[in-house]
């Protein structure tokens, strides 16, 4: 946007023009020192010409900034001018930023400044002396300045000099040893943080300095307050300070334009809903989701007028959308001879972005609010619809015009935010850990309540009974789900080449229809902030993973993420898991162990993180659970998938009287208890939510020595059980599950160490789940191979026996090259004591065929 047309000589000439200007609309703030936001609008009216113009002498105007810093004035940043000079007057022609400054200086002066439309125009902010009476004329200010009294920018309590000094001190001294922000990666934490960043700027050449407001606050609370309250005045001062500092240090570096300070993470506001009129013109940070971005809007910064008579040209800066068209040519004095030349005017980029409240911040039953955000210059096109972002900016209210041609305004304001800084919150979700970006803030009291709860000995039972209170019993299942909600500790072995270990616990519920599986899923889905609920029947593979879509407007290919990616760091609830098509289910293989999703389609090849826990529910194939069959046979899921579930529970109707009685009591109570009673009895859902969120963010338990011993023992025991009967009863996967469960249990206790009791509970729960799901219905033993290979060891043994018997039978028949299938089957049945089904027979045939002993063609069996 910088226009190269300017010449070094221009400034001088323009200054010569000063006497020709009939008026300058600068005006000291005679209305009082404190200006509510709306007062600043006066500038608009003054340029309208209806207020009496105040003739100012150019001499005073120039003198006043000189008091602060001589180098200052020569800096081309128009926004840094802290004087009462009206920048829209021709006086300042030399200063508008978009022009290359002609002064042959290096350093600050040599680098072109860039306009900051995000800050709006501050040129109507004269300085006033805090200790003297409100000055009535510019002359008075100037003279009082000479006395060395404290000067502040009109309407604020900001003294430019002090403010600058403070900020420079902040930059030079601020150290944040505890910093863990990813922006600071690679920086020495014990050195002044921002000086390192300046160095980075000098190397990289990107003249933007992001400043974390919480750093400013911890360093100098007063400076922070000023920054929040008067960003429009303070940020240019910061800019000024940082540029001075920078060019002092790196006098030879060449930047595209001067460094701009971009503060972020203002602590004041977090939620769009809590914005109120008091926030107008203050710096705020809100979070939200981008829902719409506009086309790029070229916004005129400077109008270029040329006289049609004498070709004399002049530039007029645009002031809040208004161009003060010069009526008279100053060269030839022709009236109304100046015409706007569009392609010599200077424009800046602007984009309107609509941001909607993120769903987590909203009270129930209301619609989300939206806010308009304007991005300027290089912030344009930084965000896309669908992005979740934190925006730092200045909240503005502009009165609506009744008619664009008139200056009358309505009494209703339009509000928007001029953005200073964007911070995407979901970007990292896809590519890394997001430890700090979506940390939920807990108040002290809340943490206290949670800790108190955690210190209770029966916290585990309490929490599990608070989970879905409307669902009766199934204590172990609830406990399992509770542990799933907490999750294990994340371990990173990527350096040793194994990548991440899964920390998420996956659970499968299977059982008779109507045993409130779906209800449990619904509850979990409502409980966790990043839950997704899908039904197996209704979801396709792309719906779960990601799909590529052509954006109808931009014609770009956009990657749309599906349920699994969306529930990254959350829980994906999949109902009717058994009804899922095979291709869809196969997607889950990667997700459930590697926790990533690889996509290769339509020119997009990438790997997305999907660190999601899967909570699935499946119905038996025969609609009723058949206790005579194994889990695999009942739900007909591939064992490869089943083995990825840490816990598989059966939800069956227990059918005994005591249970029925308790169930009946529970249900009747559900129907007549009043709200208060319910609340007394159970933990609040909100507390549970916070408890889980707190534990997930702050507690990272590690195994202690005893616990590891206990785990080893447990694993060895599990292996032993099987080895006695000649089968494998545990795999390393089971050990990993145990570790995860133990860690989750430690999290429930808010403990940083995994102790033996955690391991005990993990073992118990794991055993319970196995007992339910991996019991071989034929022998009554728990047999893990049902889940890992899809067939119990006894079944396999029997298969072999049948095959052997068949072979023997065929051999006994002598040399007959071909046999009838049916006859062979009948013979075998007659010979064997145990009942032999057709399936078994076929399996035996297949086994023999694999041995190359025979082939089956149609109805005949041939020996080879």
């Amino acid at each position: 946007m910088s226009s190269p047309t300017s010449t070094p000589g221009r400034r001088k000439r323009n200054r010569d023009d000063i006497p020709a200007t009939p008026k300058s609309t600068a005006k000291a703030g005679s209305d009082g020192l404190v200006s509510p936001p709306s007062q600043r609008r006066r500038g608009q009216d003054s340029s309208n010409g209806d207020l009496p113009a105040m003739p100012t002498s150019p001499g005073t105007d120039i003198a006043s900034p000189a008091v602060h810093d001589t180098s200052l004035f020569s800096s081309p940043r128009r926004s840094v001018l802290p004087s009462e000079v009206d920048m829209s007057s021709p006086l300042m022609y030399g200063t508008p930023s978009s022009r290359v400054e002609g002064t042959p200086r290096s350093g600050v002066g040599g680098t072109p400044a860039r306009q900051r439309p995000d800050l709006g125009s501050i040129r109507k902010a004269p300085q006033v002396d805090l200790h003297s009476e409100p000055p009535s004329a510019d002359g008075a200010v100037a003279s009082e300045q000479a006395l060395g009294q404290k000067l502040v920018i009109w309407g604020t309590d900001v003294n430019v000099g002090t403010c600058k000094e403070k900020f420079q001190r902040f930059l030079q001294r601020f150290i944040d040893p505890a910093s863990n922000e990813d922006e600071n990666a690679g920086l020495d934490l014990n050195e002044p943080l921002y000086m390192q960043k300046l160095e980075e700027i000098s190397v990289v050449g990107e003249p933007v300095l992001n400043v974390n407001c919480s750093h400013v606050q911890s360093f100098d609370a007063d400076l922070y307050r000023q920054l929040i309250s008067y960003p429009q005045e303070v940020i240019p001062t910061f800019d000024m300070a940082v540029n001075e500092l920078f060019f002092e240090r790196f006098p030879d570096s060449i930047l595209e334009h001067q460094i701009q300070v971009r503060p972020y993470n203002a602590l004041k506001t977090r939620n769009m809903r809590s914005l109120n009129p008091e926030d107008i013109d203050q710096m705020i940070t809100i979070s939200g989701m981008v829902i719409r971005t506009s086309q790029l809007i070229p916004e005129m910064q400077e109008a270029f007028f040329q006289c049609q008579v004498c070709a004399f040209f002049t530039r007029v800066e645009v002031d809040r959308g208004r161009i003060a068209e010069p009526a008279v040519c100053r060269n030839c004095n022709t009236i109304h001879s100046l015409a706007l030349i569009h392609n010599r005017s200077a424009f800046s980029d602007k984009q309107m972005i609509k941001v909607q409240e993120s769903p987590d911040d909203m009270p129930a039953g209301q619609t989300p609010h939206t806010t308009i955000v304007y991005a300027h210059n290089d912030l344009v096109d930084k965000v896309q619809p669908g992005d979740r972002i934190n925006i730092t900016g200045i909240y503005r209210a502009v009165p609506m015009r009744e008619n664009p041609r008139q200056s009358n305004v309505k009494s209703v304001y339009k509000t928007h935010i001029d953005v200073i800084h964007f911070r995407k919150t979901d970007e990292k979700r896809l590519h890394g850990l997001d430890e700090d970006s979506d940390q939920k803030l807990f108040t002290e009291e809340r943490v206290q309540i949670l800790k108190e709860l955690a210190s209770k000995p029966d916290v585990y039972d309490r929490l599990s009974s608070a989970l879905a209170p409307s669902i009766y019993e199934h204590e172990d299942i609830k406990k399992g789900i509770l542990l799933q909600l907490f999750g294990g500790t994340r371990k990173d072995f990527s350096q040793t080449g194994r990548g991440n270990f899964r920390a998420e616990v996956n659970i499968l519920l299977c059982g008779d229809p109507g045993t409130s599986k779906s209800q449990l899923l619904q509850y979990v889905f409502n409980l966790v902030p990043r839950g997704q609920y899908t039904s197996g029947k209704g979801s396709s593979a792309v719906g779960l993973t990601a799909y590529v879509m052509k954006d109808p407007e931009t014609k770009q290919l956009v990657l749309q993420t599906g349920a699994l990616v969306l529930s990254d760091n959350g829980i994906c609830c999949i109902d009717e898991f058994d009804k899922m098509s095979d291709s869809t289910r196969s997607v889950l293989h990667e997700v459930m162990e590697q926790q990533t999703l690889s996509i290769a389609k339509a020119g997009i090849i990438c790997q997305l993180n999907a660190r999601t826990s899967v909570l699935a529910a499946a119905n038996p194939v025969e609609s009723q659970w058949n206790p005579k069959k194994t889990t695999i046979e009942n739900i007909q899921l591939p064992h490869t998938l089943l083995s990825r579930f840490d816990l598989i529970f059966l939800m069956l109707d227990p059918q005994d009287e005591a249970y029925d009685r308790r169930l009946a009591h529970h249900l009747v109570a559900l129907y007549y208890q009043s709200e208060e009673q319910i609340e007394e009895e159970f933990l609040d859902m909100a507390v549970l939510k916070d408890y889980i969120a707190y534990a997930r963010t702050y507690i990272n338990p590690r195994l202690n020595e005893e616990a590891s011993q206990a785990l080893i023992e447990a694993y060895v025991d599990m292996r032993k059980i099987g080895s006695g009967r000649g089968m494998v009863s545990a795999y390393p996967r089971q050990l990993e599950s145990l570790i995860r469960l133990a860690e989750a249990h430690a999290k429930v206790r808010f403990s940083d160490k995994v102790e033996t009791i955690d391991v005990e509970e993990a073992k118990r729960l794991h055993r319970e789940a196995l007992k339910q799901s991996a019991t071989d219905p034929r022998t009554g033993f728990v047999d893990i191979s049902i889940l890992t290979t899809g067939m119990s060891a006894t079944a396999r043994k029997r298969k072999e026996e049948v095959a052997r018997a068949l072979k023997k039978m065929i051999q006994s028949k002598g040399k007959t090259p071909a046999m009838k299938y049916q006859q062979l089957f009948d013979d075998l049945r007659g010979q064997s004591e145990a009942a032999i089904t057709k399936d078994m027979f076929e399996e035996a045939l297949r086994a023999l065929a694999d041995e190359d002993y025979l082939t089956v063609t149609g109805k005949t069996v041939r020996l080879l």
Binding site: D31, P36, P37, S38, R41, P277, I280, M289, I297, P298, E299, M300, R320, G321, R322, Q356, P359, A364, G365, Q366, T367, P368, T370, T371, I372, Y374, A397, V398, R401, E402, N403, P404, R405, N408, K410, S411, V412, Y413, K414, H416, P469, S470, G514, Y523, N526, G538, S623, D653, Q655, E657, D660, R661, L663, A664, H665, V668, L670, Y671, Y672, M685
Partner: protein, 610 residues
Amino acid sequence: MRMWFVCRFCCPAAQSNSNPEWEAKVLEYFKGQLKEKESHSWVPSLNDVPLHYLKPNSLVKFRCLVQDMFDPEFYMGVYETVDPSTKFKPRSGSVLRFKFTNTVTAERQTFYCVPIPGESPWAKEISFLSAARVVPSTSYVPSRQKRSYEEDDDMDTQPQKQREPHTEPHGNGDSKRQETEAPSSQTTAPSDCSSHLDLNFPLPGERGPACLVKVYEGLDSFKLNDTLEIYGILSVNPVLTVLGEEKDPSLLLLNPTESMETPEEQRAHDPPASLVPRLHMLYARPLQHNNPLLPSAPTEDQSAFVSSFLVEMASVRAELLAYLTHVLLGDGLAAEYLLLHLISNVYTRRDVLPLGKFTLNLSGCPLNSYTERLYQIVQQLVPCSYRLSMSLHTMNSMRLVPKKDYVANRLVSGALQLARNTSLFLDETQLEQGQLDSSGVRNITALGNLISWQKVDYDFSYHQMEFPCNINVLVTSEGRSLLPSDCQVPLQPQVTPPNMEEYLTTIHMAQFTSQINKFRVYLSLARTLDYSISDEVTKAVEDDFVDMRKDDPQSVTAEDLHRMLVVARLLSLSLGQTTLSRDGWMRAKHIDMLRRSRTEQQKSLNGNEP
């Protein structure tokens, strides 16, 4: 008493020099006045009186549903005007020159309100008649209407904008013609207004005034889909409308304020005031029901009304049952269930589980417009209802779930955005073989969610948002419905009238209006009664359940207990009993047994049904 005054929001100059508490005082005054008996019937209602009969800036009421909530806006609560002797005159619109020193910025929010969707014609009619009885003086003479216009002009110093039509002349003429029609003509062709301006009614074919309600206080107490009776100041000042057409694109560029909104958004948020009037809310009352036959406010006379009606309850129930039995072709059991269904109500939620819902699936319905007739009869009984004929075409093409339109920045309504206790009549007999497309599948899923969880997931394009609802769903089908339901009753007609239509019409005509009115009161009232179960009965129910399970553990499940508890509750309430008695429980068990045996029968008949 004439209740209209110069609106503070339109003409603050009148009050600017009075003491600062005037706002509170004004509100106090109106609330006090409205508490008085009968007083709210003096206020003309936007539902009944056509807009052009109402005086601008007067107090009106509006019975409505909050369809959308717009973003909050800031406005100048207090400001000063420049002395009129300068060249800029202060005007009574909201446009003026101002000095800044005393400006106070305040916040308000705009709600987009529509008349309660699916309000039955009888409810409209009765409330209209009762309103017309008391407010004939304000409006109905056309000459008065003219005068009020003139007054308007006096107040406004910029008359040239005033008269300008805001819509193309053709559309304007249409709406004019419509408005001059008799106000009570509810059955005329669907509104032409919607052709050029989508008023965003949840149900197709609805008409009535939509309103932009400016809410100044208690913003958090209102929720989407609340039904409210709003008392407020009517404002139809055209100046407040942005004149969309006149905008010059070159000016747009220079005026950042103007370019913020897309034309669609402007149309949605700033429709012409003549079509969508503005209402500045003074006071809003949440409505428990919209039955005009019942006293609406929970006051003393309501409880008196209730207790007096309770005496009659049993007899009215018997009559209603007889009536419904006739309607359902002599099937007494189905009639009983239909009655229970009509008074069901989600009274609380336990975590995700809504309690008290009772979705009825009436299977085995005769074809050929029987269901349509049935709906008409239901419509005669309940204050709010909607019949969704589930034909393949409607399922594929209709928008059931509200969706956020980000271009216009508004919530585009769908047929499932309904007020509480609306009867939704799903006519599955209309369904034929064919393929559902993706939107059809979504619609069916939405209906399924509505039935099982009593919630609708509104589509916010990037995410879904769940809104709880309380809708009575009645599904009529030939076989078992493809939608879930709490209870399925196969219809067993005892009579087979040769001419169904005639038969039903005669039944309907045989009822006197007073009788029908009694039914209406009965249904609305039974729903609001409190209910409890004593410990003793609890015990008995538990024992019973255990016994039942002992006999046949396969067929009696927790689900069945759930249903029987709801049936018992509704059965007691329908008899006007507020506690469950042993007897009530036995009865509930009994009718559930009957119903089950009937479905078993059906199953064995059809054989292969799951």
